[in-house]
């Protein structure tokens, strides 16, 4: 399995990377961790003429705290996220999500920016960053812009990033008080992608859900917010009955796709089951 020929570039700055993107347009692909792109290139499903490796681009990797926000460079690996003391303390769910991606070797190479920009419908991060209300920072020839997670995933393998833009960082709000979060996943037994994954962030005060943020990945063509669930649980008691009732709405608005892992009926059911489990775990994690 050998990729087709390409020209290899290693820009040292974001500006240089953007110039290469601008020059080669459709013919260029950005290489981050490469764990989606390289397998596709080996099978010759992707045959970019120019490969722009971001590993030498300064400033794209690492995790910082900016007030109440975690700023995660796009080239930060899943392992860096899963093992980061800052992430574990300020947003433990994100570390837990990262720890469930692929396998240890994949997590050593795969990056948060690469995963999000690739927008695999069965990826784990998308549900988490929607539920957490994260923001993506993109840089293009016209400068920087910020894209809300809710607006980022446009469809199958498609994001709001323009062709000439580069995702540079992900900004994740630290967990607020009285808030718990959890990601529950039904993994594909072979690939370990999410057949269904649900991320839930619940703020509970006096036993009632003040704010709920729930998102679903895996089942449809893209990760989406489960608005019906959020509406149904907000203001209700954070108990099993309310959670069960709200979870019934989890598949609404998800364009569930049938595949080898299940029919639409079954996968819709799994979305409901994992919405329930994620909310139960989130409620239990409230501190």
């Amino acid at each position: 399995m050998y990729p087709a020929q390409f020209e290899y570039h290693t820009p040292g700055t974001v500006k240089e990377a953007l110039e290469l993107l601008g020059r080669h347009k459709d013919d260029a692909k950005l290489l981050a961790g490469g764990h989606s792109l390289l397998p596709a290139m080996k099978l010759r499903l992707a045959q970019p003429k120019h490969l722009v490796d971001l590993r030498k681009v300064a400033g794209l990797s690492g995790i910082k705290e900016d007030a109440a926000t975690l700023v995660i460079g796009a080239m930060t690996t899943h392992y860096q996220v899963e093992s980061s003391p800052v992430v574990k303390s300020k947003c433990p769910m994100l570390a837990a999500v990262a720890a469930q991606i692929g396998d240890p070797m994949v997590r050593n190479m795969g990056t948060i920016g690469g995963s999000l920009a690739h927008a695999d419908p069965a990826a784990d991060y998308p549900a988490a960053i929607i539920a957490l209300g994260a923001e993506m920072v993109a840089e293009g020839p016209k400068g920087k812009r910020t894209i809300k997670a809710d607006d980022f995933f446009k469809g199958l393998l498609t994001t709001a990033l323009a062709e000439d833009e580069l995702l540079t960082e992900v900004r994740v709000p630290a967990m607020a008080g009285r808030t718990g979060a959890a990601y529950m996943k039904f993994p594909h037994p072979a690939s370990r992608f999410a057949v269904v994954g649900v991320a839930a962030v619940l703020t509970v005060d006096g036993g009632k859900v003040g704010k709920a943020s729930v998102a679903v990945t895996g089942a449809g063509t893209k990760a989406v917010r489960a608005k019906g669930v959020e509406a149904a649980i907000t203001g209700k008691a954070a108990d099993a009955a309310s959670i069960q009732a709200a979870a019934e709405k989890a598949a609404e608005g998800v364009d569930v796709q049938a595949d080898l892992q299940g029919t639409v009926e079954y996968k819709s059911h799994l979305v409901r089951v994992f919405a329930k489990r994620a909310m139960e775990a989130a409620a239990a994690a409230v501190k």
Binding site: Q5, E7, P104, N108
Partner: protein, 157 residues
């Protein structure tokens, strides 16, 4: 078109002119002539190609050699020191953690990182951390036993 790619493999410097599309595993096997690192799949599932690059375990089939220019690479051939087996190699032998031997180099390199990060893993942690390595012969029973045994030996020294 071709690029000169230099790296250190098991302490020995390597430098070869290669096509950018050359995968690290083929650089290791064909250019450096170290055939202990194997290719068992084409979708990054089997883990037979696992090596360490700059201290972390990676699947060398999912990495271009040009990405590793300047890197320190450790393969299965570099694990034994001065003719003495690494405790994990020894444990795989002692506990019959291999049959056909094809997945074994990747299994050992993966276990090596596992024990670096978590020197006393539970059985469940060992099984979970082997998520990226497939073995078709052993049913994993003796691989898990071998890693448990290696962990004990390494903690004891």
């Amino acid at each position: 078109m071709k690029k000169t790619v230099s790296m250190t493999i098991n302490g020995a410097p390597q430098s070869h002119e290669v096509e950018p599309r050359l995968l690290l595993v083929h650089y290791i096997r064909e250019q450096a002539g170290l055939t202990g690192t194997h290719v068992g799949c084409d979708t990054s599932q089997c883990g037979a190609c696992t090596v360490h690059v700059n201290g972390v375990a990676v699947k060398s089939c999912t990495l271009l050699s040009v990405q590793c220019d300047g890197a320190q690479v450790l393969t299965i051939e570099g694990l034994a020191k001065d003719g003495k087996l690494h405790p994990i190699q020894d444990a795989f032998w002692e506990k019959h953690g291999l049959q056909c031997g094809f997945c074994t180099p990747g299994m050992i390199m993966s276990a090596h990182q596992m024990l670096q990060r978590n020197p006393r893993p539970t059985e469940a942690q060992i099984r979970h951390d082997l998520e990226g390595n497939l073995c078709r012969c052993t049913g994993y029973h003796n691989i898990v036993k071998a890693i448990q045994y290696a962990a004990e030996k390494m903690a004891g020294k």
